[in-house]
């Protein structure tokens, strides 16, 4: 039996206004979702062209969850987005050309060619780069929240993890510490129902991942991760509650990973009808319909947004391709502090 609260969908424009989004914001949210998907679709093309070696991961199906949460974050908040959360980078303002450069291992990617893939983040935008190890960023975000609490700053840390990674000890350790101190941190579970080939029932035995929150002393909420407005509302509530001293919340965004784990995986183990069922809930199509029905998005507005996104992405691909390869002479750089580092502030 579920313990976590199961969030209601958002209905009218009025409700959305109450949650803090005006019409211009809503169109921005839509644009960010389109850019998110567009970046990943073009990444696929680069992969097929052989410009991205190894493998390639996308968050198809997770655009609403990622953009919805990021839209709810404050400018000075920090977040630790993962491999399904391109929408967080886009919403926080990472320019797509730098993401393409990252994908291709170029010098202008956020990791300057030292790492690839979505193992990146722009710390100037309040984002902390993930490592491969899942969910290693949870205790890290809790550490940021502890710092904010000690310094009495009005800031919140947002920490992402997958439902698969929820099986690891770091999840427990991070959430327990956060609960004990009632820290300003919000945990976001990207529950896309698969961890590579492993389904949820082989990963955890509760109905929801968010059911666990209660045992750590805070609230758990499950939200339909294909509904960007519902995600936004729940994330906003949780973040503002944390900011006001109300402690952590675990928000679980339920989606389906609409592709294989990565391009090399054809997801043969996912039942076909599961894909068909969830395809009906495509987050972008769903929000587009909502905007037309509830916010009078016109054909012209829609065309303008779509064309703008297309131009942005085409230009970004071109610019990224001009970015140089990293210099092999930099191989040994950056492992330890150098004298110049002493004058650089290392935290915000």
């Amino acid at each position: 039996m579920a313990i976590a609260r199961e969030a209601e969908p958002v209905g009218s424009l009025k409700e959305v206004r109450e949650a803090g989004l005006d019409r211009e914001d809503l169109l921005d949210v839509y644009r960010n979702m389109l850019v998110t998907r567009g970046v990943e679709e073009r990444g696929h093309i680069l992969y097929r062209q052989g410009k991205i070696p190894g493998s390639f991961y996308t968050g198809r199906g997770n655009e609403a969850a990622a953009v919805g949460v990021a839209t709810a974050m404050g400018t000075d908040d920090v977040g630790t987005p993962l491999h399904r959360d391109m929408g967080v980078h886009i919403t926080r303002g990472v320019e797509p050309w730098r993401i393409f450069a990252q994908y291709m291992g170029r010098a202008d990617g956020p990791t300057k060619g030292k790492d690839g893939n979505v193992h990146m983040a722009d710390s100037n935008l309040g984002l902390l780069a993930m490592v491969s190890h899942l969910p290693a960023m949870l205790p890290v975000a809790v550490g940021c929240a502890l710092a904010f609490r000690i310094r009495e700053e009005s800031r919140v840390a947002v920490a992402w993890f997958g439902e698969g990674a929820s099986a690891r000890g770091d999840t427990h350790e991070g959430m327990n510490f956060a609960g004990v101190r009632q820290l300003p941190v919000v945990f976001i579970c990207d529950n896309n129902q698969w961890a590579y080939s492993t389904p949820t029932h082989l990963q955890y035995a509760t109905e929801h991942v968010a059911d666990r929150a209660q045992s750590y002393g805070f609230e758990g909420v499950v939200v339909d991760g294909t509904d960007v407005l519902a995600v936004y509302r729940e994330a906003k509530r949780a973040i503002e509650k944390a900011r006001a001293g109300g402690g952590p919340t675990l928000v679980e965004c339920l989606t389906l990973r609409m592709e294989g784990h990565a391009v090399h995986d054809d997801a043969f183990y996912v039942p076909k009808d599961m894909f068909e069922e969830w395809a009906k809930n495509d987050p972008i199509e769903r929000f587009r319909t909502w905007l037309r029905d509830n916010a009078d998005m016109s054909d012209e507005e829609e065309d303008e947004i779509t064309a703008g996104v297309k131009r942005l992405l085409t230009e970004s691909m071109r610019r990224a391709d001009e970015s140089p390869m990293p210099d092999p002479a930099t191989l040994l750089d950056g492992v330890y502090a150098t004298p110049e580092d002493l004058d650089t502030p290392h935290h915000k």
Binding site: P53, G54, S55, G105, R106, T111, G113, K114, D115, G116, N117, H119, V131, S132, H133, L134, G164, A165, A167, R168, G169, D170, A195, Y196, S197, T198, L202, Q203, Y204, Y269, M325, P326, D327, P328, T330, L331, L332, V335
Partner: protein, 324 residues
């Protein structure tokens, strides 16, 4: 004999060993339904059932800890860790339980665990999918370590690890999982732990390597062919080490270059060099040289070739030593 890729050889080993001994079981992330990320365990769940090929939650410390308990209850678990670096979350269990429980019980309990993982770089993967962490394991008392470099040894060493009464960590060179083919004996095939392999005989200089570096040093030996007679020693088992084979080769050639992909400091090459310094000093005609990775986290693909020991770096070291 069948001609198999390295990962097919591992798979054939599993099919044989699970058939041969019904206390052998496989566990890990995605090993069942999907047959493992690299397909090393393909077909096992269908053939032996989900109790002999167990899909675990995503939790490496849990996998290893559970394997310790399974051993206590009479099983021979083989744990797959998805990539080299994903063994780190399990290090706690490895060091505190796997490596010392036999000792703590004064031999009263047996821990025939096999831990295997794909290791190493060159596959254009993101960070923490390219590590060579053998030193952590070799350094842990109570744990044995094997690293095959050929399909035949991949099967034979894994079989030896599974049958061994003690915990054995097997690192599999993922770079060669599918790119290397070779003859592999069918049925029972065991390569005993603690026996090195002379991959090539020579008299002027020995190149010592293991795992993914063996094909590389063989190419270096080819490149040196006109100038020197080069012996290639494939260590195969890092612990227990075949010290005799190392010392015999050093005595024969008097010149040793050790090649390792892992970062340099305190890498396995340093251990081999120390043994040579202790026991072969009078046989040596020059310093023992190392060609290694660097003391940096393994870099992404655009510059990974600058990290990896190359044929050129091995040849340079060998020439330097030959002219010493």
């Amino acid at each position: 004999m069948a001609e198999l890729t390295l990962v097919e050889a591992i798979n054939s080993c599993f099919h044989h060993e699970l058939q041969r001994d019904d206390s052998v079981m496989v566990m890990g992330e995605d090993v069942g339904r999907a047959g493992g990320v690299f397909r090393a365990t393909a077909g096992l769940r269908d053939r032996f059932g989900p109790d002999r090929c167990v899909d675990t939650p995503l939790a490496e410390a849990g996998i290893l800890g559970t394997a310790v308990g399974l051993c206590m209850a009479g099983w021979r678990p083989v744990c797959e860790l998805q990539y080299d670096a994903f063994s780190y979350p399990a290090l706690d269990q490895l060091i505190t339980h796997v490596g010392r429980y036999r000792w703590r019980t004064r031999g009263g309990m047996e821990f025939p665990i096999t831990i295997r993982m794909p290791y190493g770089g060159g596959v254009r993967a993101p960070e923490l999918h390219d590590d060579s962490p053998e030193t952590y394991y070799v350094h842990t008392p109570g744990v044995k370590v094997a690293i095959p470099s050929t399909p035949s040894d991949a099967k034979g060493l894994l079989a030896a690890a599974i049958r061994d009464p003690d915990p054995v960590v097997v690192f599999e060179p993922k770079l060669h999982y599918r790119t290397m083919r070779g003859e592999v004996p069918e049925g029972d095939h065991v390569v005993p732990l603690g026996k090195a392999r002379v991959a090539r005989m020579g008299s002027d200089l020995t190149l010592v390597a293991y795992g993914s570096m063996v094909p590389l040093v063989e190419r270096a030996a080819d490149a040196l062919g006109g100038d020197a007679s080069v012996e290639v020693l494939d260590v195969r088992t890092l612990k227990p080490l075949d010290e005799q084979a190392l010392l015999a080769s050093a005595a024969k050639t008097g010149r040793v270059v050790i090649v390792q992909e892992a970062p340099r400091t305190c890498g396995y090459a340093a251990e081999l060099a120390a043994i040579l310094a202790e026991k072969a000093i009078l046989d040596l005609r020059g310093p023992v040289l190392r060609v290694t990775g660097y003391d940096v986290p393994y870099p992404y693909w655009q510059i990974e070739d600058a990290y990896m020991p190359s044929v050129e770096r091995v040849v340079d070291a060998a020439r330097k030593l030959l002219q010493y």
